[in-house]
């Protein structure tokens, strides 16, 4: 099992470094450009939500993004110590309705679920949220 991580302040300025970090590891794992883009976007959405919703834009807070790889699975764990939040509870939008009603927002969790093979949530009593995003390699 390979493990690498980045620990950042909760700021949208950091999204680009997080995407680069995750993309490099995904490339090495063996994913092609399209899969790498999906993974980077899913992780961006997860971090953006933490910055906005879990931490309410408090830049003193921290986010840890950990990449774990074995032979078949590429897993990104995203940890924060903010509001408890389980993405499984968010209903996916009906996109036809969404677009025809000119809605805005509410696509982040849906994207995460659509882009990845698995989205799990874990709350540890030490007040830490963990979202785990997994994608499998189909060689």
């Amino acid at each position: 099992m390979h493990t690498e991580s980045i620990n950042i302040e909760s700021k949208t300025e950091r999204l680009i470094a997080v995407r680069d970090f995750v993309s490099t590891a995904a490339r090495e794992f063996g994913f092609g450009d399209e899969e790498i883009s999906k993974i980077a976007l899913a992780v961006d959405e997860a971090c953006t939500n933490i910055i906005k919703h879990a931490y309410n834009f408090d830049p003193a807070k921290k986010i840890t993004v950990t990449v774990k790889r074995n032979d078949k699975a590429f897993e990104i764990s995203i940890q924060d110590t903010g509001k408890q939040f389980n993405p499984a509870g968010v209903q996916s939008p009906d996109m036809k309705e969404y677009l025809s009603q000119f809605r805005r927002g509410g696509l982040g969790v849906y994207l995460m679920k659509t882009l990845m093979d698995k989205v799990e949530y874990n709350f540890t009593p030490g007040n830490a949220n963990e979202v785990r995003l997994t994608k499998y390699l189909t060689r």
């Binding site: 300025e13 680009i16 980077a40 976007l41 961006d44 959405e45 036809k96 000119f102 809605r103 927002g105």
Partner: protein, 117 residues
Amino acid sequence: MSEFKIGVREAEGINVLELKGYLDAHTAPKLEEAFSSLLSLKQFRIVVNCKDLSYISSAGLGVFMAYIEDVRQNKGDIKLTNMSPKVYNVFDLLGFPLLYEIFKDEREAVTKFKDSK
């Protein structure tokens, strides 16, 4: 390291926004400003050239959603052009081509605006 830039051109009442770089939650406010300043000048015929747009997240998509209704109510439109496959995939995944006209080339979008005068 300036991760996102917008260029604005105007010709015959059609405004072309050229997006360059990474459009995410950090940079989306810049695009929002650009749209809101066009709207405050009553410019509603807008082409967004995405040739150099390398990345878009849902924060970027949200900006397009924020202005499309207003623009259309004013008989204008936001037409998107020159997307890389990577950026198009994100629009496509969410069904955005149902709501937005997306053209291969900027000229096609401009022509469409002119024909509908």
